[in-house]
């Protein structure tokens, strides 16, 4: 049995970024659900509880950063852990390298336009929600 990516969780400290994600993913409700978590404080607990298929994880968060969360996730011996795509407002080469070193499946620079957000939601939904299959 295989299944497709259905549940997405976005972890970001910025209200606006969460709102933009919500707005843009709303058009793809038929194939994906989006759960929002603001800030990194309760993120690990929320991930363990909701067990999303795909995690969109902001890097620059106050307190525990996205990278720290990613390493904590990787440290867990859990075959069911989510695919992680890192989000950042910059194309810092060091950050990009570190993201993949820590086992992220992708690195997305946050869009600066509304169209950019629509395109992000559309491509993530089409690829991860319609094409990719995951072990059950």
């Amino acid at each position: 049995m295989v299944h497709k990516v259905q549940s997405v969780m976005v972890v970001d400290d910025e209200q606006l970024d969460l709102r933009m994600m919500q707005r843009s993913f709303a058009a793809f409700e038929d194939c994906m659900t989006l759960e929002q978590v603001q800030g990194s404080d309760g993120a690990l607990g929320a991930i363990q509880q909701s067990r999303p298929d795909l995690l969109l994880l902001d890097i620059a968060m106050p307190g525990t950063s996205g990278f720290e969360l990613l390493s904590q996730l990787r440290g867990q011996d859990d075959a069911d852990r989510p695919v992680v795509i890192m989000l950042s407002s910059s194309e810092d080469p060091n950050d990009i390298e570190r993201a993949y070193e820590l086992g992220a499946a992708g690195y997305i620079v946050k869009p600066t336009t509304l169209d950019g957000y629509r395109e992000l939601a559309s491509s993530v939904s089409c690829f991860w929600g319609r094409q990719v299959v995951r072990p059950n």
């Binding site: 400290d13 910025e14 606006l16 933009m20 106050p62 307190g63 407002s89 600066t112 336009t113």
Partner: protein, 492 residues
């Protein structure tokens, strides 16, 4: 031995212009020739039975060089030419070129020593200056030039032989390393280097004998004071005196290296900082652009409420960006600011700080208690900014509804003053107690109750470090305690 030989030897001993001294196996003088009496001013009865070391200007040199060569020498070293300064009976000094010989019987047992001393003062100049003369085969004008080079040129120079023994050292060498000539001559450069440098240099000097030169090799010497002296060594091979010598120039790069290290450090900080700044400035910029777009979209739809909403958020993002740019500028300027420390009364600084924060303190109803304050050595305008940041943080980071209570106290140690700002705020989790001092690292997001630029504590740390002090935070009974250590005014 032929009869003539005996007569010849006697004539030689008595008539030669070179001073000859004969000592027994314990190095006690048994005979001197008439030339010796003339050159050194002694009669045999002055010296008979006395150790030869009394002839040297510096007994130490003799033990380090002469005794070593003569005692430890193999057959090949039964005779050696050495350069020493000698002391005449009247106390004056002169440079001498000495042919020293060990007298051995057929079984190899040493039964005495002979020294043939050539007074070089006419060629070398005043021996009461430091250093010793080079061999005599070059002319007086060249000699004067060589002397000037070693005595007057501001270069750190020495010349050493194949065993590394230093035969000549420049005045600048002695001044820089803090030694006298007699402490250096006859020893090796390796005696004055760090262990690591000495090991490398012992191997490196072979390069001089092999290729004739070395170019700017970094080594570390240790001055007499114990201070490291970083140098770059260049050397060239000289055989003009009939002996292979390394002429060595040491370029003092201690200051340059220290500056380079500071610059490197500073550059790294700037790179990190520019990266963090570019990264963090992008977030509010992106928000501004998104809000503007949403305003345009919602305006088309005629949704005025949404437009007003987005406009308010756009303004908030602009203000955030503004605060960050100001903070960055502040931080950069502080980074470049020169620290001008002077004795300052902490009490007066705190008073000015409280005045500057008057509105904030009044708005929050905060109670700020300032204990007895000593004087410290600091730059008052920079330290005031540290205090402004610490006090405003103490007032700002409290749970909603809590009246901020801030306690400022100080304790004096031998040469330090430790200032403590204690609050009743929300505290800082252990994980973050160090990183809150990094620029742009914040514990609270822009949507939290605690907005800020992420610069304040980084600024504090930068300033305190520039004063040679330290800053850290610990949990208090409730809230946090920020500690600042500064140099006190009491002499150490």
């Amino acid at each position: 031995m032929p009869k003539d030989r005996q007569r010849l030897l006697n004539a030689l001993f008595n008539d030669t212009p070179e001073a000859i001294v004969i000592a027994d196996h314990e190095r006690c003088i048994v005979d001197i020739n008439p030339a010796f009496e003339r050159v050194l001013g002694y009669q045999l009865e002055d010296l008979a039975g006395k150790p030869t070391s009394i002839l040297y200007a510096d007994g130490q040199i003799f033990h380090q060089t002469g005794a070593k060569v003569f005692n430890e020498g193999t057959d090949a070293n039964r005779s050696s030419v050495l350069y020493f300064r000698y002391r005449r009976k009247d106390g004056t000094l002169f440079p001498g070129r000495t042919l020293g010989m060990r007298l051995q019987d057929d079984a190899g047992k040493v039964f005495g020593f002979v020294g043939v001393i050539n007074d070089l003062s006419a060629l070398v100049g005043d021996a009461n200056l430091h250093g010793e003369g080079f061999p005599t085969e070059i002319g007086a004008s060249e000699r004067a030039l060589v002397n000037a080079l070693f005595e007057k040129m501001p270069g750190i120079l020495h010349a050493c032989d194949e065993d590394g023994v230093i035969h000549r050292v420049s005045q600048t060498w002695l001044d820089r390393m803090g030694y006298t000539a007699s402490e250096v001559l006859g020893r090796t450069p390796w005696d004055f280097m760090t262990k690591e440098s000495a090991e490398r240099s012992r191997i490196g000097i072979q390069e001089v004998w092999r290729t004739g030169h070395r170019h700017r090799i970094p080594y570390t010497f240790i001055a007499k004071s114990g201070q490291p002296v970083e140098i770059e060594l260049s050397a060239t091979l000289d055989t003009s005196q009939g002996q292979r010598m390394a002429l060595v120039l040491l370029e003092d790069v201690t200051q340059r290296n220290a500056t380079l290290r500071v610059l490197e450090d500073r550059n790294q900080q700037l790179r990190d900082f520019a990266r963090a700044a570019a990264h963090d400035l992008q977030a509010p910029l992106r928000h501004i652009s998104l809000f503007a777009e949403m305003i345009a979209e919602d305006n088309k739809k005629g949704d005025t409420a949404a437009v007003a909403d987005h406009a308010a958020e756009l303004i908030a993002s602009t203000q955030r960006l503004n605060a960050m740019v100001r903070g960055l500028l502040d931080f950069t300027l502080t980074n470049q600011a020169q620290v001008l420390p002077e004795p300052c009364e902490l009490a007066a600084l705190l008073e000015r700080t409280s005045e500057a924060l008057g509105a904030t303190i009044q708005d929050t109803g905060a109670q700020v208690h300032i204990g007895e304050m000593p004087a410290v050595i600091c730059d008052p305008s920079l330290m005031e900014r540290v205090l402004v940041n610490l006090l405003s943080n103490a007032v700002k980071y409290v749970a909603p509804g809590t009246v901020p209570q801030v306690q400022v106290s100080a304790s004096v140690e031998t040469d330090w003053v430790e200032l403590v700002v204690a609050d009743n705020g929300i505290g800082i989790p252990e994980l973050f107690r160090e990183r809150i001092f990094e620029p742009l690292r914040r514990l609270h997001g822009p949507d939290s109750d605690y907005p800020g630029s992420g610069i304040g504590l980084a600024l504090c740390k930068r300033i305190v470090l520039a004063h040679g002090g330290s800053i850290w935070t610990e949990p208090g009974q409730n809230g946090s305690r920020f500690h600042v250590r500064l140099p006190g005014t009491k002499p150490c």
